[in-house]
């Protein structure tokens, strides 16, 4: 009984309600919105921010913070792009491994600095973000990369399940969406079922208790930041697949969109709580909001106003939930 009840009152349920209400309102205003095709498009175009968000969730849960992930992703994009252009014959497997590897290395460096300097993660990662962005601009001179090999053009167009719309155009579940959901499934498994995941929650809940309990803090911080690094690289790769270009300044600057989605999804900015389901929902809600406002031809600056509004509203609900959860258990 209590389990059934909690499904309807949990903060995850709130996200589902929020999404349903948003879809209803937008559909009433513009009936074109509600279609499987549009929804699948949203899922494809938000795949990369969804992957960012999953990685960011790990860092938040362990009580950390990282705002350098977009810069880290851009480095991976650039190196992979350069390799594809300068050595078009490189096997695809090497190309796709480059960004996640770069991500793990840079994020691991973040974690190491945060631990060794015992410094606030926000400051360290702002510093890294600045350094990386500056070096990127110097090295790239702001030039865009494009004209990637054929396999790189074709892969992102693959559909896992597909059908035709009334105009005879093929649409369906993009392989990029599948990658996102696969990452989400793995992340969910790690967080719920593995010792690694549980220890991340523990660290985020009470780091001193975790230390006393014999948890190797550096190791687990490396793990959480490293996972974010991996996700950042992957997200950068997926982003490049969607846009087929690499520009040094498209991802950087949009970090807060991801952070907002994760927090909207119920993760605590101070660590210790958050779920993969909530995070995925947070990303979808943000994407649906943007898409709906675009369809309704609302000027872009209003998007930010709505995003901010949704975020504040959801904070209020989450705070009320947390109070109740702590009162009643």
């Amino acid at each position: 009984m209590s389990k059934v009840k909690s499904i309807f009152t949990s903060s995850n349920a709130f996200l589902v309600y929020l999404l349903v209400v948003m879809i209803l309102i937008v559909t009433i205003i513009n009936p074109n919105f509600l279609s499987a095709e549009n929804f699948l498009t949203i899922l494809r175009s938000s795949a990369y921010s969804g992957i960012f968000a999953i990685g960011f969730l790990f860092v938040l849960i362990c009580g950390g913070l990282d705002v350098s992930f977009a810069a880290v992703a851009t480095v991976g994009q650039y190196i992979a792009g350069k390799v594809m252009i300068n050595a078009p014959g490189t096997p695809w497997i090497f190309v796709v491994l480059i960004p996640p590897l770069v991500g793990v290395l840079l994020a691991g460096f973040n974690a190491f600095m945060i631990y060794k300097l015992n410094a606030p993660p926000l400051i360290i990662t702002i510093a890294i973000q600045n350094i990386v962005f500056g070096v990127l601009q110097f090295v790239t001179q702001g030039r865009w990369l494009s004209n990637f090999p054929k396999w790189f053009n074709e892969f992102p167009l693959k559909l896992v399940v597909s059908t035709e719309n009334s105009n005879g155009v093929l649409y369906g579940l993009s392989v990029l969406t599948v990658i996102w959901f696969a990452v989400a499934a793995i992340a969910d498994f790690i967080l719920k079922k593995t010792v690694y995941g549980r220890r991340l929650y523990a660290m985020g809940g009470n780091i001193e208790a975790a230390r006393r309990g014999g948890i190797d803090i550096l190791k687990y911080q490396m793990f959480a930041y490293g996972f974010l690094g991996f996700c950042s690289g992957l997200a950068g790769l997926v982003h490049t697949m969607v846009t087929q270009t690499v520009a040094p300044n498209t991802l950087i600057g949009n970090e807060f969109y991801t952070i907002a989605a994760v927090v909207l999804g119920g993760a605590n900015i101070f660590g210790g709580s958050g779920s993969v389901f909530g995070t995925v929902m947070g990303v979808i809600i943000m994407a649906v909001l943007t898409n709906a406002l675009t369809i309704m031809r609302v000027p872009a600056y209003w998007h930010q106003v709505f995003t901010g509004g949704i975020l504040i509203a959801s904070m209020a609900v989450t705070a009320a939930h947390a109070r109740r959860a702590y009162k009643k258990g």
Binding site: V195, R198, A209, G214, N268, Y326, G329
Partner: protein, 496 residues
């Protein structure tokens, strides 16, 4: 009983201080051993040597089960089955009870996958031993401090437990919970577990301990069977002094009321509370945790405004809706939980003492007169006989008793006419307790009205003019202390 642990010639020096001086200490297997001593007597250091947090100076020996160590590391101590429950609990508020309890078993297997069935069954088994009857899926953050402590004790049972060290475990427990804890300790004893127990509460020591070791100024005074001790003897051993508590001076019956509440009510917290406090009167309020006494006190201090009823201060009806307003009316409230509400641990003592009155040191252009602030702080330290190394040392470096005096000092600096003290002596030693009692009585002599809220009936009976008993949000009894009061209260309300 067989010898279990022997410590020989243990010394420990901190910078400039010898915390332990040639300590010899021993524990028998399965005994319940009480360690008593004042704040700063070396109890904590001794515990830290056993738990491996501190290493003793070379030359000492720690013999565990016949194996000799010159010092222990934390890992070695855990390996030997030694677990310490500190006062600041090491729990994860965001995780469930069962996960908190069974957290250690994650490291036992090499499998990275959590075996949730094992977590549940291990947690339940440990909970059964302790007698912890709760939903194992509840979040620890939703539990009371007392319940959290039981969870942490339960956790020590997961894995091999040979010696359980409890650092003042009863400081924040109600009597009922103390009973549950003692029952748990006895059940552990039946399983061969040795318990070392630090406490300031005499009645508890006599109730549970099979042996009492007294430590003072880093030296072992002796180890005694409780039958050879009584309250006075124990206090004498601990402090080297004898104390006599004197009743407060009689109050002037014509003195006006500083505080009067009329039918103060707040839904689900307290109901229909009408009390009066005269100038110079010390009013005691006792009752079990959850009786609504703290909530009531906070409503006078403006932090928990009542739904209905009136508050009169010095003969004037007042609406106190914030603590700022309460301070303007010269009401001071010293909270129960000094660690989370009373002191800023990492800030210097100087800052802590003057935080309530720093406007007083502001001069032209809003600049602070640092000299004046320092000299007034020095005076506060002298007035309350606080033992400190320097005003610039962080509050954290003080013993519990001195921290509590610091909290008192900072509120006394506001020159209150009504002082509300919520459990002012929790977790501090006999010596510090007595000096706080003296202080309270001296303040009453100056005409201050004082409300003393306490669990310890002896504390309220021997220091107050009148005592109110609260139960489930209502005042159920009022008495003027006399020699029969203690027995009367114990019998009527089962407060012991």
């Amino acid at each position: 009983m067989a010898n279990y642990i022997t410590m020989k010639n243990i010394c420990k020096n901190y910078i400039g201080v010898q915390a332990l001086k040639n300590v010899d200490f021993s524990l028998d297997r399965g005994e319940i051993h009480c360690l008593v001593g004042g704040n700063g007597s070396g109890k904590s250091t001794l515990i830290k040597v056993l738990s491996g947090v501190n290493q003793p100076e070379p030359g000492g020996e720690i013999i565990i089960d016949g194996k000799t160590f010159s010092s222990l590391s934390v890992q070695e101590s855990i390996k030997q089955g030694i677990r310490v429950i500190y006062q600041d609990l090491a729990l994860f508020p965001n995780l469930s009870i069962k996960e908190n309890i069974a957290f250690q078993i994650y490291g036992e297997t090499n499998s990275p996958i959590v075996d949730w069935d094992a977590v549940e069954s291990r947690a339940k088994a440990a909970m059964e031993i302790i007698g912890l009857d709760m939903d194992p899926d509840r979040l620890v953050g939703s539990l009371s401090i007392a319940e959290q402590q039981l969870v942490e004790i339960t956790r020590s049972l997961v894995g091999e437990l040979k010696l359980l060290i409890l650092d003042e475990p009863t400081a924040s427990l109600t009597r009922k919970e103390v009973n549950a804890l003692f029952a748990a300790i006895r059940r552990l004893q039946a399983r061969g577990v040795t318990t070392m127990f630090v406490s300031h509460k005499m009645n508890e020591i006599f109730e549970i301990a099979e042996k009492v070791t007294v430590i003072r100024d880093g030296e072992i005074i002796g180890a005694y069977p409780p039958a050879e001790l009584d309250d006075d003897k124990l206090v004498y051993f601990m402090t080297g002094k004898t104390f006599r508590t004197e009743a407060p001076d009689p109050i002037d019956p014509s003195a006006g009321f500083i505080l009067e509440t009329k039918n103060l009510t707040k839904k689900d917290e307290f109901e229909d509370i009408s009390i009066q406090v005269r100038k110079g009167e010390i009013l005691g309020i006792t009752g079990l945790l959850g009786s609504g006494r703290t909530e009531f006190a906070l409503s006078i201090f403006g932090m928990n405004p009542p739904d209905s009823g009136e508050i009169w201060i010095d003969g004037k009806k007042e609406k106190i809706t914030s603590n700022v307003r309460a301070q303007k009316l010269k009401i001071a409230y010293v909270p129960e939980d000094r660690l989370s509400q009373g002191v800023i641990l990492d800030q210097p003592i100087l800052e802590n003492l003057t935080i309530t009155v720093f406007e007083r040191f502001l001069e032209k252009f809003g600049l602070m007169n640092l000299k004046k602030r320092r000299s007034e702080s020095e005076k506060m330290v002298q007035d309350l006989l606080m033992k400190i190394s320097s005003l610039d040392a962080p509050m954290r470096t003080l013993s519990g008793g001195n921290q509590q005096k610091g909290v008192l000092a900072k509120w006394l600096a506001t020159n209150p006419r009504l002082l509300i003290l919520d459990e002012p002596t929790v977790g501090i030693d006999v010596y510090a307790k007595n000096s706080i009692y003296e202080l309270i009585k001296n303040l009453a002599r100056t005409g201050m009205g004082i409300i003393l809220i306490s669990d310890e009936i002896l504390e309220v009976l021997s220091n107050c003019h009148r005592v109110l008993v609260m139960e489930q949000g209502k005042i159920v009894h009022e008495l003027t202390p006399n020699e029969n009061s203690a027995a009367e209260l114990l019998e009527k309300f089962n407060l012991a």
